[in-house]
């Protein structure tokens, strides 16, 4: 295992903090060292939002991710902001339905996934975040796949537990897209 410094960024309302929480809870269940830090403040639905997740084998120092080795982006302004910050050899996962421009960096791995379109086609609009997350988990191994369902059960509020299946389907779709 190695250390994952992850930035998840996009518009408020896209489920970015939720995606980060799934990783954090999966890390907790694996007994890893971890931190989860959201942007907070005057953000609202439609404004920019992000969260930083660190999954590590050693105690986490600063919870602030300045140089992510995994970047998940769901809008163009976030790609503009975080593309230069990604470490050399890092991985960028972007929603190509929402971000039309190419990634300029040549020293990073880029996965373009039409997550919003896929979610709409699957009849699960709003779960594009989980499609991207499925791709991230498959391509980085940052958390173990077998722990995801238990993590989801911790993160999804009880009153919305009927959406567990859709979340798992979305994760799987993302995984298959990058397979």
């Amino acid at each position: 295992m190695s250390n994952y410094e992850i930035v998840i960024a996009g518009f408020g309302g896209q489920g970015l903090l939720f995606s980060g929480k799934v990783l954090a809870y999966a890390g907790l269940l694996e007994g890893r060292e971890l931190s989860w830090l959201p942007s907070y403040g005057p953000e609202m639905r439609g404004g920019t939002a992000n969260c930083n997740v660190i999954l590590s084998d050693t105690p986490v120092g600063s919870p602030i991710v300045d140089h992510p080795n995994v970047l998940m982006v769901m809008n163009a302004p976030s790609l503009d902001k975080y593309e230069p910050a990604v470490v050399e050899g890092g991985k960028i996962f972007l929603d190509s339905t929402l971000i039309t421009r190419e990634v300029e960096r040549k020293d990073v791995e880029v996965y373009r996934i039409p997550a919003t379109q896929m979610a709409n086609d699957m009849g699960i609009p709003g779960l594009a975040n989980m499609i991207l997350l499925g791709a991230i988990i498959a391509k980085t191994g940052c958390i173990k796949e077998e722990g995801i369902e238990d993590a989801l059960k911790k993160v999804i509020p009880a009153r919305k537990m009927d959406l567990l299946g859709s979340n798992l389907a979305a994760l799987n779709a993302g995984k298959e897209y990058v397979a």
Binding site: Y40, P63, I64
Partner: protein, 350 residues
Amino acid sequence: MSEKVLMKGNEAIAEAAILAGCRHYFGYPITPQTEVAAYMSKKMPKIGGTFLQAESEIAAINMVYGVASTGKRAMTSSSSPGIALKCEGISYMAGADLPGLIVNVQRGGPGLGGIQPSQSDYFLATRGPGHGDFHVLVLAPSSVQEMADLTVKAFDLADKYRMPAMLLADGTMGQMMEPVELPEPKEVTADKSWAVTGTKMERKHNIVNSLYLKPTELEEKNIERFERYKEIEEKECLWEEFMMEDAEICVVSYGITARVSRNAIIEARKQGIKVGMIRPITLWPFPKKALLLAADKVKSFLSVELNMGQMQEDIELAIQCKRPVGLCKRVGGMIPSPEEVLNSIKEANK
């Protein structure tokens, strides 16, 4: 040993307070600490406690005064501008020798400032937040685990020394989630024979009051209080040392900046720079002795904080100006990157 759970720092404070036997919370919303109040509003009614959103910050602290005088554990929480409003009540609590917990999840100032993390209330907290000669205990958590542990500690120390305690956190510590092992629930065992609980015609009246019109009596009260403070400074200082064994530069930092500094120190060590850190956990009492001892071993100190150099002054006082004390700072809601701290360490190493 309980299982580790994932919680926001603000939620960990609230849950730990309940486990420490606090059943009375009074607050008023303000970013970035509102999760404390939100958690209390859900939990307190279920366990027979009181959650009350007061009409103002001042009302909330005076409700804490009221409950504290009956000997029960009570708390309030706010962020910087709200804490400024509470200062009147905190001073009254100090003057009446009442224990209680005030949580300050700091944001940038002065004025309404911003809502991003800051440590600019260092002076306000450590010099006695309010009018008159007094101190409050000031504890500065640097992890979600410490948000929980130091909440319990703050209640215990406040009861032991009959004085208010402040948990001095910042927006990052409040908002971040980390695995935390919650403390065991406990009974409050402190002697509260001074509390106003009704005499049942069986004892003399207890009086909780901060008004002393006879100067001789008020002077005596102040002097007695400072005797207690002296004892606290001797017995209750908490700090953590990191890579200090052979250090030539001593970083001093608390809260979120101690974590950033930790990253910078690990990197500096890779580059062959002998640097370590003393992390104060209590800011009042300030770990003066530990710093003075370090002054005999290191060449210089570096204060890393989110203000214009408030703790830097305390370090200079603690080490009696024996060594230069540099400053690495960001303010207004900004946090230095590990690279910025590393650059300051390199500068100090020249």
